[in-house]
Symmetry: C2
Subunit: 564 residues, 2 copies
């Protein structure tokens, strides 16, 4: 079960089905995407050339009804970092894949003469169809066209115009159970890889699929129920996340100096109360209509940390509106208006770019003097220029490193070419260590330490905290599980029991941890082959000598410590 690999050759337009190799049998999610990239892609390959491959994978439990288990992993050599990249998101695509028995989709080659295609997968197999009618449509229009043609229930993995233009902040999105195509594998420019291959969408139709249930059914169901119980018993997952979503983080980071504000010039924002979890919740509830503060992004998720943000008229503006976007498009740009942030989020989703990169790039444009910090109108106008494909739009859509270079700005918050998310590394040093050392570049999802009960601005213990967090999150990523589940997960041994009972094998937690460890190891080895060395495992210089005024600290974890 769940043992099909779909191989899509965009050069020859052939779609073939392969049986999962025996050596991959415990691999899923990030473990599988990274394994395939390492096994099949030359680390020297041009990320946007025919030798790169794009791999989509679901988790081992994706269609099993376990809460928070349906994340879609996407992997490739990244055009943004120059190294290997995995990015994952909720939504229904991974669930549909799993129901079709597909563990991974490998997209290789490159279509000829600029022809564009969509890949359709259903119970009878897969085929590439001409996709030119979707070309350069925004993501929301693309999704609507797909629903019109294939029905509202299909899973749809989509890129926007940014990916088609091979802009290196382009993400890959998929749809949620409500039909919003806003679950972004946003980081690392993987949408540009998909666009470079001439693939605009993957449509997953599970009508008539006959997925195989768990082998040891009773054991499996009891463990799945245990997960649900833990979620209900844990205040974070039972109350905080469903009510305030990821935005519940904002007061914490704001208090400790961890909320990047005005291009990481300080770590606290005077407008925090207007954009924090309470403000978000209250606005959504007060407006009603299509809005909801509590929303599942994946089938069967009990945490429901997603939301639908409505406008004043009650119509949905964007779903979800999350902490990272609020932090980077909001505080980091000096913007304290949730409506503006939501509108920018919608525009980024529609054009198909990562909101973290756009938030970073906008703030750098502000530092360059293109517009004042906090100028919502100018920020919105700049973001609108992306879809108009003006030069400014192209610069913003090229991400913060390129924006900094073009605009002559020195303070560029990025590691390995990738913009920093909403945790100031001087105040949340463990996450700073992750930014510096993760094979994924500056990426909080690679090992965030902010929820640990440690003093985040002290020097001691951060390397170990980051290392543990990187391994822990790799474990979740390798199983297609959501990071929001971690707080509720009282015993990780249960994950091994779920896998064992589902597949009728005996898989121990140690085996799963080994897989996570090996994933990190092969990712690092790939990066070395791609030319990323210890010299790239560092933060931008200004974090080492500009003091964060709230935490009173610089990032002072030196190279020797990082190299551990």
């Amino acid at each position: 079960m769940l043992d099909i690999i779909i191989r899509v050759n965009m050069s020859s337009l052939e779609v073939t089905m392969e049986k999962l190799p025996e050596g991959y049998r415990n691999l899923s999610g990030r473990g599988l995407t990274s394994r395939v990239v390492v096994d099949e892609v030359n680390p020297g390959a041009d990320p946007l050339g025919p030798r790169n491959k794009l791999v989509l994978a679901c988790g081992l439990l994706a269609d099993s009804g376990v809460s928070s288990s349906g994340r879609l992993s996407v992997g490739a050599k990244s055009p943004l970092t120059g190294g290997i990249k995995e990015s994952n998101a909720g939504g229904i695509a991974a669930y549909k894949m799993a129901r079709l028995g597909i563990r991974a989709i490998i997209v290789e080659g490159m279509s000829q003469n600029g022809h564009q295609h969509v890949l359709v997968l259903d119970k009878n197999g897969g085929s590439l169809r001409p996709g030119g009618d979707l070309s350069m449509l925004g993501v929301y229009d693309k999704a609507q066209r797909i629903y019109d043609q294939y029905g509202k229930k299909v899973g749809a993995v989509i890129i926007g115009p940014a990916g088609e233009r091979r802009q290196v902040t382009a993400g890959i999105t998929n749809n949620d159970p409500s039909g919003h195509p806003g679950r972004y594998c946003g980081r690392g420019g993987l949408g540009a890889v998909m666009g470079s291959k001439g693939l605009l969408a993957v449509i997953l139709d599970d009508t008539g699929a006959s997925p195989v249930g768990p082998v040891r059914r009773d054991q499996f169901l009891s463990r799945a129920k245990q997960i649900a119980r833990w979620i209900k018993e844990t205040p974070q997952t039972a109350e905080v996340f469903p009510k305030y979503g990821t935005a519940s983080m904002l007061d914490t980071t704001d208090a400790i100096g961890g909320l990047p504000t005005r291009n990481f010039s300080t770590g606290t924002f005077e407008g925090a109360e207007k954009i924090n979890g309470y403000a978000l919740h209250n606005t959504i509830v007060a407006r009603g209509g299509q809005g909801t503060p509590t929303h599942s992004c994946m089938p069967g998720c009990h945490i429901k940390c997603s939301n639908v943000f409505p406008g004043r008229d009650g119509n949905a503006v964007v779903s979800p509106l999350e902490y990272e976007t609020i932090g980077m498009v909001g505080a980091n740009c000096g913007i304290d208006d949730l409506d503006v942030i939501a509108r920018i989020n919608y525009l980024c989703n529609d054009y198909g770019v990562d909101t973290i990169e756009v938030g970073c790039a906008l703030a750098v444009a502000m530092e360059a003097g293109l517009m004042p910090f906090g100028d919502s109108g100018a920020a919105l106008a700049a973001v609108e220029e992306m879809a108009k494909d003006t030069f400014l739009g192209k610069i913003i859509a090229s991400g913060v490193v390129t924006a900094g270079r073009v605009l002559g700005v020195q303070r560029v918050p990025a590691v390995k070419g990738q913009g920093m998310p909403a945790y100031d590394p001087r105040a949340v040093k463990g996450t700073g260590v992750t930014y510096a050392t993760s094979p994924m570049g500056a990426d909080h999802t690679a090992g965030n330490t902010v929820r640990l009960n440690i003093r985040h601005s002290q020097r001691e213990g951060q390397v170990r905290a980051s290392r543990d967090a990187q391994l822990g999150i790799a474990l979740m990523d390798c199983l297609g599980l959501c990071v929001m589940l971690v707080t509720a997960l009282k015993d990780r041994g249960l994950l091994a029991e779920l896998v064992s009972s589902r597949f009728g094998r005996n898989v121990t937690l140690e085996v799963l941890l080994d897989m996570a460890r090996e994933t990190l190891d092969i990712e690092r080895a790939f990066n070395r082959g791609a030319g990323l060395t210890a010299a790239h495992d560092r933060l931008p210089e200004f974090f080492y000598h500009e003091t964060n005024p709230v935490s009173g600290t610089v990032f002072d974890i030196n190279r020797e410590d990082l190299e551990q």
Copy 2:
């Protein structure tokens, strides 16, 4: 003699004089700039931050009257390549430095609050003076203001607005004996390093200087005369270079497929006859006026390969107009009009950017569809936008890699972030090996094999040819000598005799070659520390699979060969 180091701290605005350390006594030119950068700059330093240093050095023979010996070397960690960079040019600055006894100028720190300065050096020492009145003036206006204030005879090392804006293709220029400020240390964005420090110009006034003559005067003069005699006896240096300049190369490259045309899509240009050495010579001679095809860029140079290109009215447009600019702004953009090329050259010089990067970036913009190949008017307009500081102007001035990224172009001819000069590496494979392996990135001046009597498109022997060329040119660079002298230099032992008799020491050719070898070694070691590995020693992917239609070859020298 020639044993002063001037150290300029831009943070404290102090200028101090130091005696050349004993260990540096044979070092000059690139040998000295690279040594200081390696000894004093952390390879992890931000190239545009306060920890980088800019080093200017003359050659050991700079004021000695030996032909072609007065090149100015500039070195730093490059914001373009991320590695160490040395770039050198003729002009009078190095000659003036040497007459003041100054072997090197080390500029460190960074000025506070955006204040800008000029450094004035004369027989009494050095001082920093406020330079704000020069701010954002074009290079030609800056030079005129400097002449007005300090006299027409001073040496002037200048950056343009591009350097002030820290644009990563910014060069550093100096003036020639005729007062043209067009001798560019163009490559690697070193003008941005100077600009980041808040230094706009270095003014060298040798009035009243008392340089020390050669210790073994008779021996020295006889060897210097020998050089002059060889130049006269060699057809290239006696006839071809003075008449046709470096543009004499164009027919050769055009014939073998080595002339990059329309963004390296072919190696021959149908408009070659309109822009080759003959066309250049005939145009200059026919127009007369201020134009001349034969011109010395350095005091005492017998080769005189420089020129002054006049407009139809006989007034000087630019000096010099050289092969690299004609190749990259001309053929590589499909432009066959010397007047347009000269005008673009002037605009680049005035704004302060590298014409090779601009030629590469323009061609990439053409491939992106911004304008057709060969559209002179559109190309000129795009180049004019640099000084207007529009977004398109900023994109072009950010060089070919950034332009390719922003404009979504896949075929980007660059190595280690630096655009390729006018030799197609599939047709001139030895130079291709240099592009791939030189610590300097894609740089013909780091070891061009095109003048060797070998079949340039064959695979065999190119690694050795490049290696020998890289060492040979490093020897010349380390002595501040011009590459144009190589053809005439019948016995390199003479260089050792010149150094020995000048300084009254016994320096053998082997000692000089060891210095050159060590320079290459320490440059590579610096680059490793900066994160450049064997993975960066390769050409862009398309050169390996797109056949050059003239030579009928791809670049087929593989990684194992390159790693030798």
